[in-house]
Point group: C2
Amino acid sequence: MQQLRRDPVLGRWIIVQIDNPLFPQDFHHPDNAGPAPEFRFCPFCPGNEEKIPGDIYCEQDESGWKVRVVANKFPALRAEGELEREGLGAYDRMNGVGVHEVIIETPDHSLSIADLDDSQFERIIRAYRARFIDLKQDRRLQYVLVFKNHGWSAGASLRHSHSQLIALPIVPKKVNEALRGAEKYYEFKERCVFCDIIRQEQEDRVRIVDENDEFICFAPFASTSPFETWIIPRSHHSHFYRLEDRSLRLLAEMLRRTLFRLKKVLTDPPFNFIINTSPVQIEEELDYFHWHIEIVPKLTRAAGFEWGTGFYINPSPPETAAALLRECGSP
Amino acid sequence: MQQLRRDPVLGRWIIVQIDNPLFPQDFHHPDNAGPAPEFRFCPFCPGNEEKIPGDIYCEQDESGWKVRVVANKFPALRAEGELEREGLGAYDRMNGVGVHEVIIETPDHSLSIADLDDSQFERIIRAYRARFIDLKQDRRLQYVLVFKNHGWSAGASLRHSHSQLIALPIVPKKVNEALRGAEKYYEFKERCVFCDIIRQEQEDRVRIVDENDEFICFAPFASTSPFETWIIPRSHHSHFYRLEDRSLRLLAEMLRRTLFRLKKVLTDPPFNFIINTSPVQIEEELDYFHWHIEIVPKLTRAAGFEWGTGFYINPSPPETAAALLRECGSP
């Protein structure tokens, strides 16, 4: 069972595992851990479909399935029940209503995401889009996050290439901060801050990694991590799930090329990516928010300074990173 | 040279290294890295005092120095010059004015902080206090953060036991959030949120780890990390640096015991601690803020979900963690 608890000072929520908690012996702390163990049994491989919860979504051709979405066997949140909030003296908690799914990106255990082809990337992004459209029907779910953890130190526990989706009963603090920051900018300038960023990047050109007809990939001016990149649509769209088929193909191509560049320049680094988009229960197109993908390699170790201040220290300027990624050879 | 850059959406700052940036070959990403290499030359050992920048602070007895504070040889910020802010099209930056110091916690290379005795902990905390009092004279410096990184995956690069201090020309976003959160609570309830937390913990008792006459150690209700603990003074004080000598002794004892418990229960885990206190240029005692130490073991891997939402997933309830730490045997 999971419980959501609110930090009374920062207003930040945590998800805490109440039954079957982990004990000290369960933590292999990273200083001792090394790379993830390779399990003999892979629940995501063809042939093992019966061993894990059934398909929520599946795309297949005559050779079998190509991309599947399944329920997470160890979910951070569960779909049953109504959302209940309660006070506990000075504290606040909610029950852990939500959804946690896994997107299996390929049937081939041996392939890393950067090795997949454009059509496989299209299938993956189509699966993301389909899950958004389905989950937004559930009015309890306020925010849907699609994310990928690649590599042990970026949080991956299984090697078979996959991404995840968590749908939450509240709009998380960090998303609210981004929405409010963008809204304030819009109130002041009457322009979308992300559209302004795109214009600035096209003028400066020093942080651009790649471009196609509809998307631009660049290293953000205030990158928190070395070699961080964003992929953003050139024209203003606030909701990822409204992506049209033609755009989806161009996004697939851009995401594949970017992950290929990262793998080539940094020798298969651990990384996370997330789709940063508007809350699903907001139906209208927002003038001030612009969805995008953030890709963050895990190359530095966030420590006490970052914890205490929220500052990040980045030892590689995005201008240097962008030049290396841009010039690494067309994938 | 360092530059401070502001994220135009989140308002978060980063410190970016402009000259001598790190290149791809400089990153030993953690999946391949393993524990930190043990250098033959340790700049913090007695005998090597001449090899690093001179003492800023030193406490010694007839046998030699016991605790030293020195300038960081590879500072994240530098003290020279005036703070200059400028716009760059859509972006904002500042030059990297600030201070970065290292507190060498013991002359003995072989000791871990949890092995030190009460009088050594007193010397360390006295050094922290002295540096706060000195640095607050510099009106450019708005916030002083003392932090410790223990273990490779918690950010430590050298094994010789040390903590660090960074003084910043602005009050960082996360500190502002905590100040505002606490102030809002005070406006609403006319009570300090931290004082209310202490009362609640003393009533519930399930999350308390340790207590003495002036300090209480507990696992926070919304712990972001398994086995996270806070040490907080029972009576209301907003500024760490005003700590009196008697309280300093009791804090030293509580910090030593807590780190000993962590080491015992979790087998020397990597961890960070920070002193969370009021901005140094605020002279008056704040009714709504209450300084404390946060100790956060690094046992889980923050990943895409945390990055995208600001949520944390904690697989061990603080009630379980507190019971184990409390009952591990008096240190």
